[in-house]
C-alpha cells in the first residue's frame, strides 16, 4: 500500500538540521569529491601508460602544469598526492560515515534525530571547508600539495606548493571528524528506542559505532602532527627537520633537532585505523544487504560483533607496520608484526560469518546483492595480500611497490566502493520512494567488476617485479621493469573504461528520479527499523517512538509461512510498518513527532545524560591530542639528549610555579562554585574568581611568550622553544575556549535562578568545570616537564 500521503517533503535549506538532509549532503559532496579524485587518476594514468606523450587536450591544463600537453613531473606529484587525499579523507570516509551513517543510524536505532543536530551540521560545513581549502592549492601559484597523501617531511616542509593549505584543510577535516564521531557515538549509545538493547543493534550500527570510536581517537594525533608541521612551515621550527638537512646540495638553515620519523608515527597512528574506518561501515552495509536479500540470519552474529570490537582495540596497535624500513629494532618490528597478524583474525572472522551466512540462504540476485557478493572476494583479496606486507621480511621487498597499491586499492576500491554501490541500490527506495532499474543496475555491475580487477590485479604483477609506485614514468626507464610496463597500458585502459561503465548507474539514478514515486515503505521486506517508516522517512523518522521486540535478521524458513521475516519492531503496536500505519501517520490525524530524550536526566542503563557523555568523549579526544604532544615531547627531548638545551632559554621553576599555582587556585575556586551551585547558592563571586585567575594565567603566559620573543627566543631557535610555544599556545587556546563557555554557563545559570519555582540547572556548570580541571591538569604535566626537569 503506497504511503505517499505521509512522505516527508524534501527541504534543502543550508540550515537544515535533519540528519537525513545532512546525510544526503555528505553523500552528494563525497560523490562529487570521488568524481574529482577519479579525474585526477585519469590524468595520471595517461602519463603512466604513455610516458612523455602529450595528453589529449593537455594544453588546456596550462603551460606550467603540462608543457606542450605533457604532464609536468611536479604536476604529476600534485595529482598523486591529491588523488589519495581526496579519495580517503574527502570521498569514501565522508560517504560511509557522514552519508550512510547520518541517514540510517537514527532510523535503525529508532531515534527521531541525532543527539546534537547543530554539531552535526557544523561537522558537515567544517568538512566542506577543509576540502575546499585543500583543493584551493590547485589555483595557487605553487600548485597543490605534492608530497604524497602521507605528507612525509622533510619534503612536505621544504616544498613550496600548497602543503600549507593541505595542513589547514586537514585540521578542518579532523575537527569535522571529531565532531561527527562524538555525535554518532552519543546518538547510538543514548538515543536507542525502547527495546533496542546493545545486543539487538544491527551490525551496520555496530560498524558505525566502532568507526566513530576509531575516528575519535585516531584523528587527534594527526591534528597535533598537522599543527607541528604547520609550525615548521610557517614559524620556522624544526619538529620534523633533522640537523644538517641538505636540499639540492645546500645545507638548509634551520635549527634542526627534529625527527621526520615522528611525523610517520603520528600520521600512521591515524592512517591505519582509518583503513578500518573505511572497512567496518562497508562490512555493515554488506551484512544488511546479504541478510535482507538472502532472507537469512547473520551467521555467528555475536562473533562478528565481538570481532568488530576487537578491531576497535587492535587497530591502534598496528600502525608501525608501515614503518618497517625506518630502522626500527627487531623487538618493536616483531611486536607490530605480531599485532598485524593478530588483527587479521577478527577481519577473517567477520568475512567468514558473511560467507557462512550464504549457506542455505535464498538469495535474490538484485543489483545490491551482486555488489555485496562481489565485495566479499574483493575484500578477501585486499586483506590476504596485506599479510605479506605485515611481515617485516616480505615488506623489505614489497615496500612502496605497485604491490602495495594493488593491496590497498583492492580494500578501498572494489572493496569499499562496491559496498557503497550495494548500499545505494539497497536504500535508494527508502531515501527516494523510488526503485532503481535492475537491468541498468546489472549493466553497471558486471563491467565495473571486470574493469576494477583489470586495473588493480596487474598491480600485483608489476609490484612483484619490483616497480616502485612513485615513478613518474611507471617504470619505463628501468630495464628490470620492461617485461611488465605493458601492463600499465592495460591498467590505464581499464581505468578509463571504468569511467564509462558508470554511465548506466548515472542514467539509472536520473531515470528513476523522473519516474513517479511508489513510496513503498518496505520494498525488500526488511527486518531492521528503517523499513518500519515511510519512504522517504518522515521529518522526525517515526510518528511515535518505536518499540523493538527482537534481534535483527530473524527470517522464518517454513515454506508455508506467508511472512518470512520477523522484523525488529512490533507489528501490532503503534509503531508498525508505515504501510500499515498510513492513516495514523497523517498529520491531520494527530501524528505527534517524537522528541530527543536524556537531555536533562540520565539514561537509566548508561547512567549519563547526552551532554555528559559528549563531554567525556571530547575529553577522550583531548587526551589523545595532548598525549600525542607529550609523546612528541618525550621523543624529541630524549632523542636530542644534550642538544635539547637552547642557549639563553631558562624557563626556571619559580616563574612557572606561581603561574601553575594561579591555575590550581582557579580550579579550586571552580570546585567550590559547583558545590555552592548544587545547594542552590549563588556562584557569581567564585565563578568570577575562577575567570579572573584564568585570565591572570593567560595574561602571564602571553607576557612570558612575548618576553621570550623579544629576547630572540622564537620557535626557530630550537626544538625546545618551539615545543614550549606550541604547547603553551594550544593549552592556552583550549583554556580560553572553556573560559568563554564557562562564562556562558554562568550567565545561563543566573537566568535559571530567576525562574520561579525552579531548581537551578547546575549541569552545564558542572560539565564545563570538568573540562576546566582537565586543561589545568594538562598544564601541570607540561609545567613539570618544561620547568622542573
Amino acid at each position: 500500500m503506497p504511503t505517499d500521503a505521509v512522505a516527508a517533503p524534501v527541504r534543502w535549506g543550508p540550515t537544515s538540521l535533519d540528519p537525513k538532509r545532512i546525510g544526503l549532503r555528505y553523500g552528494l559532496t563525497g560523490a562529487a569529491f570521488l568524481f574529482l579524485g577519479f579525474l585526477l587518476m585519469v590524468l595520471m594514468r595517461w602519463q603512466l601508460a604513455y610516458p612523455g606523450e602529450a595528453l589529449p587536450l593537455g594544453t588546456w591544463l596550462g603551460e606550467s602544469r603540462a608543457p606542450q600537453g605533457v604532464l609536468a613531473p611536479e604536476f604529476y606529484n600534485q595529482l598523486g598526492a591529491m588523488h589519495g587525499t581526496i579519495m580517503i579523507f574527502l570521498a569514501v570516509v565522508p560517504m560511509l560515515i557522514g552519508g550512510f551513517g547520518n541517514y540510517l543510524v537514527p532510523l535503525m536505532i529508532g531515534a527521531p534525530q541525532v543527539a546534537f543536530p547543530r554539531l552535526n551540521a557544523l561537522s558537515y560545513w567544517s568538512y566542506l571547508l577543509g576540502g575546499i581549502v585543500m583543493l584551493a592549492g590547485f589555483v595557487t601559484p605553487g600548485g597543490a600539495a605534492a608530497s604524497g597523501w602521507t605528507s612525509y617531511p622533510p619534503l612536505a616542509i621544504v616544498e613550496i606548493s600548497g602543503q600549507t593549505l593541505w595542513l589547514v584543510g586537514m585540521v578542518f577535516v579532523s575537527i569535522s571528524s571529531t565532531l561527527g564521531a562524538v555525535n554518532m557515538l552519543v546518538t547510538i549509545i543514548q538515543l536507542r528506542c525502547p527495546g533496542m538493547t546493545l545486543g539487538r543493534l544491527p551490525f551496520f550500527v555496530w560498524g558505525q559505532m566502532v568507526s566513530a570510536f576509531l575516528l575519535l581517537l585516531a584523528f587527534p594525533p594527526l591534528q597535533a602532527a598537522a599543527v607541528l608541521q604547520l609550525m615548521d612551515r610557517v614559524a620556522g621550527s624544526s619538529f620534523f627537520l633533522p640537523s644538517g638537512l641538505v636540499v639540492s646540495g645546500e645545507i638548509v638553515e634551520i635549527s634542526g633537532g627534529g625527527s621526520p620519523l615522528l611525523w610517520q608515527h603520528l600520521f600512521w597512528f591515524l592512517a591505519h585505523p582509518e583503513v578500518y574506518v573505511l572497512i567496518l561501515p562497508a562490512l555493515g552495509i554488506v551484512t544488511e544487504v546479504i541478510t535482507t536479500h538472502g532472507r537469512v540470519a547473520l551467521w555467528g552474529r555475536r562473533w562478528a560483533v565481538g570481532s568488530v570490537l576487537a578491531i576497535g582495540v587492535l587497530a591502534f596497535l598496528v600502525w608501525a607496520h608501515h614503518m618497517f624500513l625506518t630502522g626500527m629494532g627487531t623487538v618493536i618490528s616483531g611486536f607490530f608484526q605480531a599485532t598485524t597478524m593478530i588483527i587479521s583474525i577478527p577481519s577473517v572472522v567477520i568475512l567468514s560469518c558473511l560467507f557462512l551466512s550464504l549457506w542455505g540462504s535464498r538469495l535474490r540476485y538484485r543489483s545490491a546483492t551482486l555488489f555485496a557478493l562481489a565485495f566479499l572476494p574483493m575484500f578477501g583479496i585486499g586483506g590476504l595480500t596485506g599479510l605479506p606486507l605485515g611481515m617485516a621480511i616480505a615488506n623489505l621487498q614489497l615496500h612502496d611497490t605497485y604491490y602495495v597499491l594493488g593491496h590497498f586499492h583492492y580494500v578501498v576500491a572494489p572493496g569499499t566502493l562496491f559496498a557503497i554501490f550495494a548500499g545505494i541500490y539497497h536504500w535508494f527506495p527508502k531515501i527516494t520512494g523510488r526503485r532503481l532499474s535492475e537491468r541498468l543496475g546489472k549493466l553497471h555491475f558486471w563491467p565495473t567488476l571486470v574493469l576494477m580487477n583489470g586495473i588493480f590485479f596487474p598491480m600485483f604483477i608489476v609490484g612483484l617485479a619490483g616497480v616502485s609506485r612513485r615513478l613518474y614514468d611507471g617504470g619505463a626507464g628501468y630495464a628490470f621493469a620492461r617485461d611488465v610496463t605493458s601492463l600499465q597500458e592495460l591498467m590505464s585502459f581499464c581505468a578509463w573504461a571504468l569511467g564509462i561503465a558508470q554511465v548506466p548507474f548515472l542514467l539509472n539514478l536520473a531515470l528513476s528520479l523522473k519516474r513517479p514515486a511508489t513510496n513503498t515503505a518496505d520494498p525488500w521486506s526488511g527486518c531492521t527499523l528503517e523499513w518500519a517508516t515511510a519512504s522517504p522517512p518522515l521529518p522526525l523518522n517515526f510518528p511515535s517512538e518505536p518499540r523493538v521486540v527482537r534481534a535483527p535478521y530473524l527470517f522464518v524458513r517454513e515454506p508455508n509461512q506467508t511472512e518470512d521475516v520477523e522484523p525488529q519492531w512490533s507489528r501490532h503496536g503503534s509503531d508498525g510498518p508505515a504501510a500499515e500505519l498510513a492513516e495514523t501517520l497523517r498529520p491531520e490525524n494527530g501524528a505527534t513527532p517524537t522528541s530527543l530524550r536524556w537531555i536533562s536526566s540520565p539514561r537509566p542503563d548508561t547512567g549519563v545524560t547526552n551532554g555528559a557523555l559528549a563531554l567525556w568523549l571530547f575529553l577522550a579526544a583531548e587526551v589523545m591530542f595532548f598525549g600525542s604532544l607529550l609523546s612528541s615531547y618525550v621523543l624529541l627531548r630524549l632523542g636530542n639528549g644534550e642538544r635539547w638545551a637552547v642557549e639563553g632559554l631558562d624557563l626556571g621553576a619559580g616563574p612557572g610555579a606561581w603561574k601553575a599555582a594561579v591555575l590550581v587556585a582557579s580550579s579550586v575556586a571552580l570546585l567550590l562554585a559547583v558545590r555552592r551551585a548544587r545547594v542552590g547558592r549563588s556562584v557569581r563571586a567564585l565563578g568570577a574568581t575562577t575567570l579572573l585567575l584564568g585570565a591572570t594565567f593567560l595574561g602571564a603566559r602571553a607576557s612570558e611568550l612575548a618576553g621570550l620573543a623579544s629576547a630572540g627566543l622564537v620557535p626557530r631557535s630550537g626544538v625546545a622553544t618551539a615545543m614550549f610555544y606550541t604547547v603553551s599556545g594550544l593549552q592556552g587556546l583550549h583554556l580560553l575556549a572553556v573560559a568563554i563557555v564557562l562564562l556562558v554557563a554562568m550567565v545561563k545559570k543566573g537566568g535559571d535562578r530567576g525562574s520561579a519555582n525552579r531548581i537551578p540547572d547546575t549541569r552545564p556548570l558542572r560539565l564545563v568545570s570538568i573540562a576546566w580541571h582537565f586543561f589545568v591538569a594538562v598544564w601541570l604535566v607540561f609545567f613539570t616537564l618544561f620547568h622542573l626537569t
Partner: protein, 93 residues
C-alpha cells in the same frame, strides 16, 4: 576481584612493555647502544600508547556497565510479565 582483573591485565602489559623498551631500541645492527634517538623513539611510542589504553579501557568499561544494566532491566521486566513474547519466537535460525 574479577572487576580488577581487566585493569590489572592492562597494567601488567604496560609494565612488560616498559621493561621491553630497552631491548626495542633502534636497528638490529647496534640495538640502540648509546643512541639517544633510539631511546626517544621507544619511549615516545610507549607514551603514545598510554592514552589509547586509558581511553579504551574507560570506554569499554562504560559499555560493559551499560550492557549489564540493560540485562538486569530486561530480566526484571521478564520476571514481571511472563506474557511478553519471546525475542526469538517463531524463528528457525
Amino acid at each position: 576481584m574479577r572487576r580488577l582483573l581487566f585493569p590489572a591485565a592492562i597494567a601488567t602489559a604496560w609494565v612488560a612493555g616498559g621493561a621491553l623498551a630497552s631491548a626495542a631500541w633502534t636497528c638490529s645492527v647496534c640495538f640502540g647502544a648509546g643512541d639517544p634517538d633510539a631511546s626517544g623513539f621507544a619511549w615516545g611510542v610507549l607514551i603514545l600508547l598510554i592514552p589509547v589504553a586509558i581511553v579504551q579501557v574507560a570506554l569499554f568499561r562504560f559499555l560493559l556497565r551499560a550492557v549489564r544494566r540493560e540485562g538486569a532491566s530486561v530480566r526484571r521486566r521478564a520476571g514481571g510479565s511472563s506474557s511478553a513474547g519471546s525475542a526469538h519466537g517463531g524463528v528457525v535460525r
